[in-house]
Subunit: 425 residues, 2 copies
Amino acid sequence: MTIKKQAGRGIITREMRQVAEYEDVPAEFIADGIAEGTIVIPKNRKRSFPHIRGIGKGLRTKINANIGSSPYHMDGDEEIQKAHAAARHGADTIMDLSLGSEIISIRREILKESDVAVGTVPLYQTAFELSRQKRDITDMTIKDFLATVENQAEEGVDFVTIHAGVTTQALDALVSQGRVLDVVSRGGSFLISWIKKHGRQSPLYEYYDEILDILAEYDVTISLGDGMRPGAVADATDRAQITELVTLGELACRAWDKGVQVIIEGPGHVPLNMIEENIRLEKSLCNGAPFYVLGPLVTDCATGYDHIAGAIGGALAAYFGADFLCYVTPAEHLRLPTIDQVIEGVIASKIAAHAADLAKGMNYARARDLEMARARKDLDWHGQINLSLHSEKAQVIRDSSEIGKDNVCTMCGEFCAIKRLQDVL
Amino acid sequence: MTIKKQAGRGIITREMRQVAEYEDVPAEFIADGIAEGTIVIPKNRKRSFPHIRGIGKGLRTKINANIGSSPYHMDGDEEIQKAHAAARHGADTIMDLSLGSEIISIRREILKESDVAVGTVPLYQTAFELSRQKRDITDMTIKDFLATVENQAEEGVDFVTIHAGVTTQALDALVSQGRVLDVVSRGGSFLISWIKKHGRQSPLYEYYDEILDILAEYDVTISLGDGMRPGAVADATDRAQITELVTLGELACRAWDKGVQVIIEGPGHVPLNMIEENIRLEKSLCNGAPFYVLGPLVTDCATGYDHIAGAIGGALAAYFGADFLCYVTPAEHLRLPTIDQVIEGVIASKIAAHAADLAKGMNYARARDLEMARARKDLDWHGQINLSLHSEKAQVIRDSSEIGKDNVCTMCGEFCAIKRLQDVL
């Protein structure tokens, strides 16, 4: 039985207990959430890893780091280092988005080495394998695709992005309204070119039940991809995006019926004023399934600093109910990220998640900020560094300056407000 | 006549025309806003500088960069370089918060060298001069303070922070409610210790009219300081902060009566869920005077990354109506910032301001993002770099990777979604 089916029967599993302990909630709360579909625990039945996490309503906001090689930059060791660095700095899950000749070996290594749940996009492997045979993704048969899904599920992948919402209807909506920047999702672009070539419905939608059967067998969580996510704020919340989201709501129910846990993927580029409606709409159309947003980026113009644009959008999204933030690195729109850029992306996302949880009144976040405030009042620098979301970086910055006598810092020196009021109040 | 008085009589000045041109609005709109108090143009009548800017309702969100030496790190040349770097990267104003032996020479140099409005906190100079005489700020007489204000106004300072809202009433509120982190404003801590020592009302409140007379003479804009701003999210929106804000509303009206333009300073550390109410409260209590927020920081735990915590808070604050964002650098809470950290702070703040203006539907922001989206669709890398809020950084990141053939990037290589759809759609 899958985790979802067990939860439906009121069975509390070891994973549920582990998640409940981490979240400091009763295990029944986790089981109820999984049964309702508002919580998921991505974990393949064939894989074991220490940091099992729940994602969803009432839980801490989780963050994902995308790693993986590209055809123009292929270095397996570097990707493993990225996986370790991401998890060490606070990523709750890793997605391996590798493309290129070492796609299989890199995934296997990441599955072996990672302490956290690992996700993939099976369509990438199918595309790459066809490309190696000098064929195109538009030559894909459903057999090709199902074989990849089975292969990855068998290897232990915990959650997979399936772009089953990229349908002829969504494409019609895209074409009828028009967009400034069409489609920026790799998976979305593959399926659109497939649909255009064959003039019929996407095989991922047509054979959705067969996909679910494989996922149910290995207890792989489905992350319903947003192939129609806007890649520019001018395209946000448009006909194509919402048509796809309506379909994702339908597909979520069908997955639940087969005992498969569901995550819904969301945008993308969204201006600040549209974030709340995007979250509320997903919760409504998808019956409360956990919402996994990419950023969102609140402007198109922060190239080189998209982790900051993503932190702004992610904080607000999580505050309004997004459950799972996919990080964005400073390299977004420019290149495959380096290890350092992966770390910067994780920290930015972590700040967003923490700020949202604090605003939602979550105890763990309030306790940490309170402890930090007390460390500041006491001019306890060791405590301040330890409580920082990236202690090493905070320590490096402090150590780089002439550290003041009197236990203050070089910002105010002897004119430190905190020190003065320690004496006065 | 001050700018404010002229606006009240319907006179359109050269400064108003310049601001109207930059904002792409009628000059009458600027004059009306200044007359009502919802817009300011900080500019000392004795100073000329090229980038004259308006701050307030209906205008682009502006950003300020704080620079200046500290007693433990004193390097005049470095501060001038910071001033230049900040303005070059998009700061609309500079505040010189210098303390220490070169306070006067550094300010004079910044006033001479800067292309933008320059602000100061005269109380710092008073504190430093007393300290040089082995006396404390609690020994300050109103004569000492007025002499500093006059001295700085005469030198050409365009706006000054005056913490006249730190009163016995605000201190009573602070003590009666209690705080985790008391007071983190330097100016606030000076005045609280003064009030505690003398057991009577702050001289800055008692002699407020005399201060205004000097500011009116030189047409210096008053920025009413928030000495009671919370320094921890646990203290946000408390009795002391709001007591001070009520007073600032009263002081704003008194400044307007004397023809002095007014900015209101605000927090500080504010959780996401309290940002909207903080902005609405200021607009209501201070009759729509421009609101100048420091960050705000949405968590206490982002040490080393406070520019990101500040960008999250700043974007939301500006979206809800804050007019002027004071940047926060990655060095906040740790040290006086380096030049690079000043740049990182400016860019983060710029992203916040831009995202807010985009969400408010401002034409300049929408046009830039639209142009970026088109450059992305065309795989026009030169255009994308140029339209980035920090082009140099974007260029460095792109150049650091194996730049793809086919004009793509190393993220997806040949599997680029945009390239695929150029061919298909």
